[in-house]
């Protein structure tokens, strides 16, 4: 909402208040000012001048020298190239006579006294553009040439300030009005707020209509056939003379951000801005059968709106129709078939109230949003319809735009309910933590047009946002001053706050990963489905079946990821293409797994929410990173959860990963996740120059299997014996399996098994490898004897040979 301050001053006089102070105060009481602009800020020292003579310039064919009376004790000399000046013309002159200490400014810059081809020019005649105006603002002017004020029917005399005679001396204040206050989308609404905020009287005006005879009943009959229209008021204007509206109206519209068109249309816009009540004017000659009916459209009905677009209506669209067809979409836009034209002779003014939701749905369906629909959809006060149309009629007479036919139409089947709210000053004070006496409170509410009915407050009809104690409390506190509320400490029961164990565990994971050199990333949870195939998933793979957004911007924001790997790969690629030589990255990333027919709510709501799981995703490339460093990280994470019974199983099937370099991790029989090297086939879809390693572990699973014991275990009292074994075995023998065999040789005395060397080549036959283990043996209750150690060693050697054909390397 853009407010003209001149207009506001008609209602509440705040002329003496500095504009910045006005904006700050009105913001603090609840009407937020986004900004303000003085319309004449670019203009100074532009006066009305009477051209007394026009003579040829002695040295230039295209210039003339004028003597101009600008109300000073002498005439000024102005040199101009304009062709449309003549003796007797009243023109705007930017004056800067030498020695007068005046600086003239217009749109385009400062004007100074100077010589033009040898002749003194003490200023400049102005065109409309130089005054910041256009042909809509000054319809009788010309664009190329000087604005001739008498031709534009501007009443003025030499020496008058042009800013004042053209009513440019206005300030536009732009408000951000919240959707609960449609009443403030009007000059009167903001005047009410201004009056209450500054404690100044408001001068409300009851329109007086001068009726010119005839009877509206002979012109038109109105019916409401659908309850989505709660009131319909109409007036008829005859002998209409379409013309530009007067300058004061045009400039107020301009200051309010509305373009002037002609007197009738300007009046409807003027009333809409003043009252907040959208209006429409129909050309009476286009209304068939003297009949206006508010009804719903027929499904598929075609209709051409004022903007010359053909619209297809549906059966829930509310329309204004004549005896035959729709002539307007209720509350949204009128029809081209009944538009006001130069030739219009009789006009029907509509001032009606339409259901907000209905207007909103219609606007959405038709993809139309107008000044009118934007107001209706917030819910307007049906009480103001009649006064608004009366005001329009008053303006018609004032502007001489036509004659008002006697009588008005007002179809208002169910008068709007009056709402009452109990007045509870004590509760309000307690709730806000302030003290305002009941009488002060009453005075505040009185200024806001609340009245009293016993102990109840009567809510003004334009305040549909006020229905309960909290709403009254807000009225009180915004008038009292939000910033006068004293900060206090909650006085309440102690509640144990803090992080849940899972939240604490997440922090621990992050700290651990940062400690071993992983940087945390943050990626979008939606992506393009193409990233699945880019990462190596097969087209249509079951695990890529994703939740999809129905109204995305495009492919990139459509698919809710089921894996955190594709987004990690994108980040790795971003870094690789920016020549970051090596990275270690991680994210705790949510993935969304679709599911069906699972009850996930208690309200019987339709549809099933997907399963949301948080993944720990790791991604590395570059020096210092390989399969085993990644595996080590995975192991550290598992260790940090105190989890012991973990198995790593080669996975050759997962198409994203290298079939020979991918493992699944299991805790007992529960899969924790997968890690490995990005499949070189998939890697071709990226610009990586080194191998990429990825891991995705399920955070919840890790958390649920935490085995941390709080108790300490005694430090060993007896020494250990360490025996090293170098086995030669076939390539097919997995080190992990061999270690498992060793471990099973003695579950009590074997404390630790460590693979410390893997060797191929040299004396080792092709297809074979050497695996060197260091085995630590220890007894809890005695010093282990050499004999015991020898016995276990023999057992290890024979088991390795028996189970894996592994022989001790000679």
């Amino acid at each position: 909402m853009i407010l003209s301050m001149n207009w506001l001053n008609d209602y509440v006089d705040v002329k003496d208040i500095d504009i910045k102070e006005y904006c700050d105060t009105i913001t603090v009481t609840g009407s937020k000012v986004e900004g303000w602009e003085k319309m004449d800020k670019e203009i100074s020292n532009v006066k009305v001048g009477l051209i007394k003579s026009v003579e040829k310039h002695p040295n230039a064919d295209k210039l003339v020298v004028c003597k101009v009376d600008v109300g000073m004790d002498r005439d000024l000399q102005i040199v101009t190239a304009a062709k449309n000046v003549y003796e007797g013309a009243l023109v705007p002159v930017a004056i800067s006579p030498e020695g007068a200490g005046l600086v003239a400014k217009v749109h385009g810059g400062e004007i100074k006294t100077g010589k033009l081809r040898g002749e003194l020019s003490e200023g400049m005649f102005c065109s409309i553009a130089e005054l910041g105006l256009d042909l809509h603002d000054m319809p009788l002017a010309i664009e190329e040439g000087i604005l001739i004020l008498n031709e534009s029917k501007v009443e003025c005399k030499p020496g008058d300030d042009v800013v004042e005679v053209l009513k440019i001396n206005d300030t536009s204040v732009e408000f951000e009005i919240t959707p609960n206050r449609p009443d403030c989308l009007s000059v009167i609404g903001l005047a009410r707020e201004t009056s209450a905020s500054f404690d100044r009287p408001i001068h409300l005006h009851k329109p007086v209509v001068e009726e010119a005879g005839g009877d509206i009943k002979d012109y038109v009959d109105v019916t409401i056939s659908d309850p989505k229209c709660s009131r319909y008021c109409a007036r008829v204007i005859k002998n209409v003379k379409i013309a530009p509206s007067p300058i004061w109206m045009r400039m107020r519209l301009k200051a309010s951000g509305v373009r002037p068109i002609n007197n009738i249309v300007d009046i409807t816009n003027y009333v809409m801005l003043e009252y907040g009540q959208p209006m429409h004017a129909f050309d009476y000659s286009c209304i068939s059968g003297k009949k206006i009916d508010v009804r719903t459209a027929r499904e598929g009905e075609k209709f051409i709106t004022l903007d010359n677009e053909e619209r297809t209506l549906s059966s829930d669209t509310l329309v204004i129709a004549d005896a035959e067809r729709a002539i307007g979409i209720a509350g949204v836009m009128g029809g081209a078939n009944s538009e006001i034209l130069e030739s219009t002779d009789t006009v029907v003014f509509e001032s009606a109230n339409f259901d907000g939701t209905s207007v909103r749905i219609t606007g959405k369906k038709l993809n139309m949003r107008t000044e009118s629909s934007g107001r209706f959809e917030k819910g307007l006060d049906s009480e103001m319809c009649l006064e608004a149309v009366e005001r329009a009629c008053e303006l018609v007479t004032l502007l001489g735009a036509g004659e008002v036919v006697t009588g008005s139409i007002d179809i208002y089947p169910n008068k709007k309910k009056v709402y009452k709210v109990p007045f509870e000053p004590k509760r309000i004070n307690e709730f806000l933590g302030i003290y305002v006496s009941p009488n002060e409170m009453k005075a505040m509410l009185d200024k806001l047009f609340f009245s009293f009915d016993g102990d109840d407050l009567v809510v003004p009809s334009f305040r549909d946002d006020v229905r309960c104690m909290n709403d009254i409390a807000e009225e009180v506190v915004r008038m009292y001053g939000y910033n006068k509320v004293e900060a206090s400490r909650i006085v309440a029961q102690l509640v144990p706050g803090g992080l849940t164990p899972l939240q604490q565990f997440r922090r621990k994971i992050c700290t651990l990963l940062c400690g071993i050199g992983y940087d945390e990333i943050c990626t979008y949870s939606f992506m393009s489905a193409k990233l699945y195939t880019k990462a190596g998933w097969k087209e249509g793979d079951e695990s890529t079946k994703s939740v999809e957004i129905s109204n995305p911007f495009g492919e990139d924001t459509k698919t809710m990821r089921t894996s955190s790997i594709p987004t990690m790969l994108e980040v790795l690629e971003t870094n690789a293409t920016r020549s970051v030589p090596s990275v270690r990255l991680f994210e705790l990333a949510k993935v969304f797994i679709p599911r069906e027919n699972v009850v996930t709510n208690i309200h019987g709501l339709e549809g099933t929410l997907p399963e949301e799981r948080q993944k720990i995703v790791l991604g590395t490339y570059g020096s210092g990173n390989d399969f085993y460093t990644l595996k080590g990280t995975v192991e550290s994470l598992i260790d940090s959860a105190g989890i012991k019974n973990v198995r790593f199983v080669a996975n050759k099937e997962f198409s994203v990963m290298h079939p020979g370099r991918c493992a699944d991790v299991y805790i007992n029989d529960v899969k924790l996740g997968t890690f490995g090297e990005l499949n070189p086939t998939a890697a071709k879809n990226y610009t990586f120059s080194s191998r990429v390693y990825l891991a995705e572990l399920d955070l919840q699973t890790l958390f649920e299997n935490i085995q941390k014991s709080e108790k300490y275990s005694q430090l060993p009292k007896y020494p250990a014996i360490t025996r090293d074994f170098s086995f030669v075995c076939g390539e097919e023998t997995a080190a992990g399996d061999l270690a498992e065999t060793i471990k099973n040789c003695d579950k009590t005395l074997i404390e630790k098994i460590e693979l410390f060397d893997v060797f191929r080549g040299g004396q080792i036959a092709p297809g074979m490898k050497s695996l060197s283990f260091s085995v630590t043996l220890r007894a809890k209750d005695h010093t282990l004897t050499v004999e015991e150690a020898d016995r276990i060693s023999r057992k290890i050697i024979s088991a390795a040979s028996f189970k894996h054909g592994a022989e001790i390397r000679s």
Binding site: L432, N470, R489, F526, N551, H603
Partner: protein
């Protein structure tokens, strides 16, 4: 030569030798050994008169101690020299780079979220989370935003179906909490939210919010101010002031937009606060009775307040970052700065 002179001579000889010879052991043997010169003197003690013996004995011991001390001093001095030589030989260039283990960094948004969470945890708040894909009911309807409510225009929402959407705020967590918990309630709900705003320097279709909710008997608007004032001081410094401006949110009444005094200029007006002296940082208000009642809490008995802030906005201000997109680009050279 009497015995006293003899002893002085031995002492002199020994010290002279120590000054010129480095073989400390042979000097010790020569003078102090079993067959050494001093031992010889001791052996000749028999010739000394019994009354003189204690004096001579004392003298012998003095000489012995002097020689032993001199040998010991010489030894330490040799060791010291050897150590000096070793240290010199082992000197390295300490300006060569260290072998630094690479340390990772938390994402700036995560760091900021953690900082905010810790502030409220310190005030006794619990941290509650909820689904990011939500029912329209929890995201809007239960919060006094029925379908086709004009206030829905202020948030463009991503929908999955007519009833399921990507939550546009973390408020559904509050609704779920109120449905399942009896007051007193004191929670914060940090998390990801989604709005259909294309990404640019100041918008992101995904961002992080943290909302707070307190419901109990006798909670006042003054309490809301108290909590937010504490919070603002913790985040932006002890001298920070807050300012409430009336606003409208469907789920709170009264509602306010909350500004903090500019952390850059302290309120004088600068580039950061666009000359205003204040920066808008969060929205807040007293929980609307409709919302309480809808969650099974009697608004005639209980009252509460709620507030919400954008974590990115605070991170941007905290780190002086001017483009939101940097957070989601994840350039390692950016990440390593935090």
């Amino acid at each position: 030569m009497d015995i006293k002179e003899q002893l002085e001579q031995i002492k002199k000889n020994a010290l002279d030798m120590l000054n010129s010879d480095s073989d400390l052991e042979s000097i010790r043997v020569k003078f102090l050994g079993k067959k050494g010169e001093l031992t010889a003197v001791l052996r000749s003690m028999g010739q000394v008169s019994p009354e003189d013996r204690p004096l001579v004995g004392k003298h012998v011991n003095e000489v012995r101690e002097a020689i032993e001390q001199a040998i010991e001093n010489k030894k330490s001095s040799f060791m010291e020299k050897a150590m000096q030589a070793k240290l010199k030989a082992e000197t390295i260039d300490v300006t060569e780079p260290g072998k630094k283990p690479e340390i990772g960094h938390r994402h700036p948004i995560a760091q900021t979220e953690e900082m905010l969470v810790d502030i409220f945890v310190g005030m006794g708040f619990s941290v509650v989370e909820g689904p990011e894909i939500e029912y329209d009911y929890y995201n809007f309807e239960a919060l006094n935003l029925p379908k086709n409510h004009p206030a829905r225009d202020t948030q463009d929402t991503f929908y999955i179906t007519d009833n399921i959407l990507l939550r546009s705020q973390t408020s559904p967590v509050q609704v779920r909490t109120m449905e399942n918990t009896k007051p007193p309630i004191r929670i914060i709900s940090p998390g990801r939210v989604y709005r259909a705003d294309p990404a640019d320097a100041t918008h992101s279709p995904i961002f992080h919010q943290m909302e707070g909710l307190v419901v109990d008997k006798g909670i006042t608007m003054g309490d809301l101010k108290g909590v937010l004032e504490l919070f603002a001081k913790k985040v932006f410094g002890e001298n920070t002031k807050i300012r409430f401006r009336p606003h409208h949110f469907p789920f709170t009444e009264p509602s306010a937009e909350v500004d903090v005094s500019c952390w850059e200029c302290g309120g004088k007006g600068c580039r950061v606060c666009k000359g205003e002296g204040w920066v808008e940082i969060l929205g807040a208000g007293m929980v609307h009775p409709f919302v309480l009642r809808n969650c099974g809490i009697d608004p005639d008995v209980y009252s509460g307040f709620a507030f919400g802030m954008g974590i990115e906005r605070i991170a941007l201000s905290r780190f002086g970052i001017d483009d939101l997109r940097l957070f989601y680009e994840n350039d390692e050279r950016f990440l390593k700065q935090f």
